[in-house]
Amino acid sequence: MKSSKLSFMSLCFSAVVFPLCILNANSKENFSGQDRNQLLKMSTFGPTAQMVLDLNNSNVINEIADEIEWLDYQLKHPSAYEDPDDDWLSHFQRVEQIATTLEPTVDFHQDYPNEDLKSRADGYRIFNRFAPGTSSYNLDAFQMSAWWDNALGNSDLNSKVGSDQLRQRMAYALSQLLVVSSTIFPLNGRAEGLAYYYDILAENAFGNYETLLRHVLRSPAMGVFLSSVMNQKASLHKNTRPDENLAREFMQLFTIGPYELEIDGSRKRDSDGKSIPTYTQNDIVEMAKVLTGWNLFLFPNWGRLGKGYGSYQHLMQFHPEKHEDELDEFYSKEQDPGIITLFKGKSWETKLDLNASDEMLDGSGSATKSGLDAAIRVLFNHPNVGPFVSRHLIKHFVTSNPTPGYIERVATIFNDDGSGIRGNLKAVLRVMLLDKEAYNQSIEVGGRVKEPLLVLTQFLRAMESRPWPKTESKMLLHESNPRYLQKMYSFRSPQDKINQAALRAFDVFNFYDRDFIPPDENVMMNGLTSQESEIINDNFFPNVQNQFDLIISNYKNYRLKCSDPSNLTGLDDAPEMKYHSPNFIINLEKPLSVLIKGLGKESGFLNDVNGSDFDNDELFTEAVNDLFDWYETNLLFAPLNPNLRSAFIELCVHGFDHRQVLREEDKGQEIALRIVHNSLLLLVTSPEFMVDAGTVPDVTPPEIELIGASALNFKKGDTYVESGFKASDNVFGDMQSKVTITGDVNTSKAGTYEITYSVVDIAGNISEAVKRTIVVAEEVTENPSLYWWTGAESIGNGFYQNWLGQFMPFESGWIYHLDFGWVYVVESDVQGLWMWIQDEGWLWSSSATWPFIWSNQGPKWLYFLSTEQNNFFFDYSSSSFRTIAR
């Protein structure tokens, strides 16, 4: 009994089902307005009304949808990387620019203090060598600022930064797969290395994944983050061997993952049903050898890392003398020094030369022979990479719960973009963003909880935010340092408030577990995952609401204090903002104008509205209606549930107390501001904005397929055995467990019987009924089936004993059970029994399940407990025990 419970438990803990089927296959050709909004949401850090307008006004008349052309343009869009000398700065260049602007007297490119180090630096002066006099610990704030520039756009700088939205979105998605974070010393101080790393992701966002991996593994930030910097060959004398950190995570997190996958992302299983590991500890040990010999460019020696040495803006440099060659005494047992074996025993086992020539130059510009690119190629070509990367991208861009088919369609393009190239990220993005499944997410199980950071960027972009020009700089040590931040966003540590921020994950496993399942019955029963939900917890809610409230309040407390709030100029009397406050200034002019115009004030200006303008209830209601129309078009980019909308309007018109306004001349303005502030805050922090639900109602019923013949013959007296069936739904996938079967078969009486199968999906669509006809006759030329209790132990006097307990079988399916009394038993298909017991109705159990019993009344689970005094059922539906009458 114990072992059966164990196996039952292990069933409980095994992998999750991928439940979803698609509504339509392949690429989308035509887009509705809603589809257009969906495309913009997926491809950017937040749609803007201007973007929608531009798309609508696209003049090109041809057969290709405007949306597809827009997407293709994004995929060819110019970037900061075409011309390093133009005014469109990369993340790294922007960090440099900010640092030198805010501290113009500091020489961020200082020479090394002594001649020896200086000569090794070969005349090159590294940025931010953490030399005395620099306030380098602020560089992470500048790196974050550069990130905001690229996510939001910064019109104060120029019109180009942030215009390559899809590229920047892809870089952000990649930063959650190829994770680097400021949490490892000294990356928080040498944060220019984080910016340089982000540039690698952004520059290769539409390139090739193998090229990207080559850069990532040579990058200083990754080298430090996963300690491959100064990883050196084994030494028996020093008793050291190569560091395995990067080798492991390279396989586990960046390329193939721990289990073998089918192309649709599901796990391959062996004959015992277990997952198949992709690599062994030995593979990691071998891979670690390849990753030896790399150090930061311009690092003076091979010793402790420290924070002041080496360049974080060049790829690492290779040192052949430190590279593993397996010639040290440590490898005295090694058969084939200099050759390693990866995936030994698998069909893709590969031997690699540790000194194979690399295809890429190292950070010093030299050609190298480290075997690195050869090893990368082996991993890159592993069949897992396509589904592994595709699944990650879909979960980030589209939905938490893609169907296996979706993953397969995208992975297929990863494997071959159509012209024989593997790893073409541009093609992968294109096929993913144009797949119909992205536009047909089901209302019930589709969509995803938005990442908190994307909620913020969507809001800020929709509300045209800009940095506050009078934000104090923290770098005020020297007189000639500017007092204010210069055209610079400042929100340094979003991870403290909204639980995530780019390049600030706690460790290499990113912000959340990709397969996180929130503990909720419906979610679990449908096998849904929601990675973002892992970081949404009780203190997230007040934190995020306070942040939004602060940002919205900034409009009144800062922008409106300018003499020209519309253009954000005339700041002489406007207040200063502290450096540690998020300095986003949004624009509420448009929603205010809509509200005020709705009250009959044609100018729409705040100055023109009076308190009395709000006295007419009907007009006020109309005006608020207009305001919500504006929100739908400019912020939500989707219609708001009408019930919620009307409740909001009720709140705005009747819910606020306007007596607080002290001066009559301010009353109109104050009321207008309060209406907009409160409605915006509640709306943007509501589930309507925080969660991307699907939009498509499911109207297709599920389908049932019988296993075995739909017409069967049985001999009179034999036991009827159900031969099985399958059921599936276009949205909800496997429905087998939910099928209802009705109909009688009495094999003790000759005749024709009919069994009907039907199932209902969660959306309420009922399948067409499927029937099986059973004919019971006196004679049938088939082998009689055994009685179900064959295999039970006979204990004399006609009694049997098996897992069910003690009983005596009678004819026509009845038994007398010592615990339950008279029971009518029918054998079921899954090696179990249906038992009819008076007052209990139909119960089911099997040798594997007993003493858990399924009761059709409810339905629900029961647990049978027998003690000396009494027998009990523990009833799960009521969480209580009840005695069984005998």
């Binding site: 803990f13 020093k238 560091d243 969660v691």
Partner: protein
Amino acid sequence: MYSRRSFLKTTGAFGLSAGCFLPILSAKDVPNLPGGDDYKALVCVYLHGGNDSLNMLPPADAANYQEYFDVRGGGENPEEGIAVANTVFDLPDLANKKLTSSTNPYAAEDNESVGLKGVYETGLGLNVNGVMPEIAHLIHNQKIKIISNVGNLVEPLTKEDIASVHKEKPSYLFSHSNQRMQVDIGRADLDSGFGWAGRIADLWFGTEKYDAFPFGMNFSLRANGARMLEGAKTRPYVVQPNPVAFNKMKLMPTGGTPWVQWDENLNRRSMYHYLNGASPINPDDYSYTEYNNWKGYVPSPLDLRNRIPEASPNYLKRVYQKMGMNALRTNDAVLAALGEDLNFTTTDSYGQNLFTVPEEEVLGLTYNNFGSLIQNLETITKMMKVGVSKGYRRQIFLVQHGGFDTHGSQLEVHPRILRELSLGMAHFNSALEELGLSEKVVTYSTSDFGRTVSSNGDGTDHGWGGNQMIMGGGIDKSEIIGKLPSLAIGGADDYSEQGRIIPSIANIQIQAELAHWLGVESDYLTELFPHLPNFQNDSSDATSSFVNLGFSS
């Protein structure tokens, strides 16, 4: 006429939920709830990344130490070694709070030597690293048991067993995420599941005195990495040291001039409820109209009662809605709990108030990011105080202390986090003693794994068995439980050739004993930890797997 259904044959969430609602097996107490009126709490200090416990508690015995030094001493390049020196320091007079930056034994010229300078003797087979005088002190005062060489196991293993296909090893050894998962779910053969402490909470959920409204039984100090506390029905409450109020939303009838703003706040709150698919508030419960009459005009409380709240049809949105309501419910309570200052008379090693984070000058150590463990333990103390005062019976806390994955820069990083661990445990113990809770609270450390005996030049890599510490619960004395393994490379306890030591005690043996101390009946322990029978001397008695930690009750 009868109807039947068929069943999921293999995995399926249905099996998931059903299987995890297992009742007790003995019929006498229904349901399985610890008897009595006592309070007990368990605090898990999770050392994130795999602690190098060999440098935390280096071997004391000469022969063992030699083995250790042979591997870690750097061989012909002693300056590149990472072994802690065998220099014995006198234990500073912590009882009189006399530790200062000039009298601390571990002070060194350069940062990297701090953690290697020397040790305190304990009289046991392991010494304590010089940066942890408080731990040494606690050991001397019979307050800490050391579990030697503990790690994830499915069944006991010897070196010979490693190659055998008949013996089951934990799956995905040396992988952080898998090993961490196995620590959290209480079994070393799977890669996902519910946390064992979460399942205890599920078990006791809804019963009298468990129902620690509004928080629940389990607490995590961080949003993610709390799987140990996540059950099928229950989730841990995530608590920060400095929680924020919903005050900006103005959803509560607080602040401002009451008769002017309170109704408005309630209206906003009504809307918040409505957006989250929850029943609207009843305005009659919150009427302040007697004040309003003074001013004449009353904004009528927004009556959304006629509107039926709509749980979203989207399942993920519905989860979000529920979380939003829960956050509102718990916010007031957690602010009250954490707003209260704890005033202790006991002071720390430096003569400062308990839970003060010492400055660099005081510590004699430079650091970047120090003190979150200390702050978190203070938060835990506050939540415990609330728990006791409200009559909660059981609480389980998880605090993560980070940065132990010292592949590189081990000498810079490790001493600092060990120092904080030492201070944290000492502060916490002093606080609990002063509150009279020290026998009711067990604090224990655990980690992904130990680390390799061998070095990679700059640090150590993922190992397997490691040492852990247990404090509290009225333990009888300090001692080392379990044998000290051979540390020789390729030696009798080495998994292979890099010094990854095969554990001699399984994590689940410790976890089961802790669960039992909390009040889980021995019959149920195998449901929590299915491989426990592999470690039982007596197959019918789960408690025979225990190492006997010596709790007083």
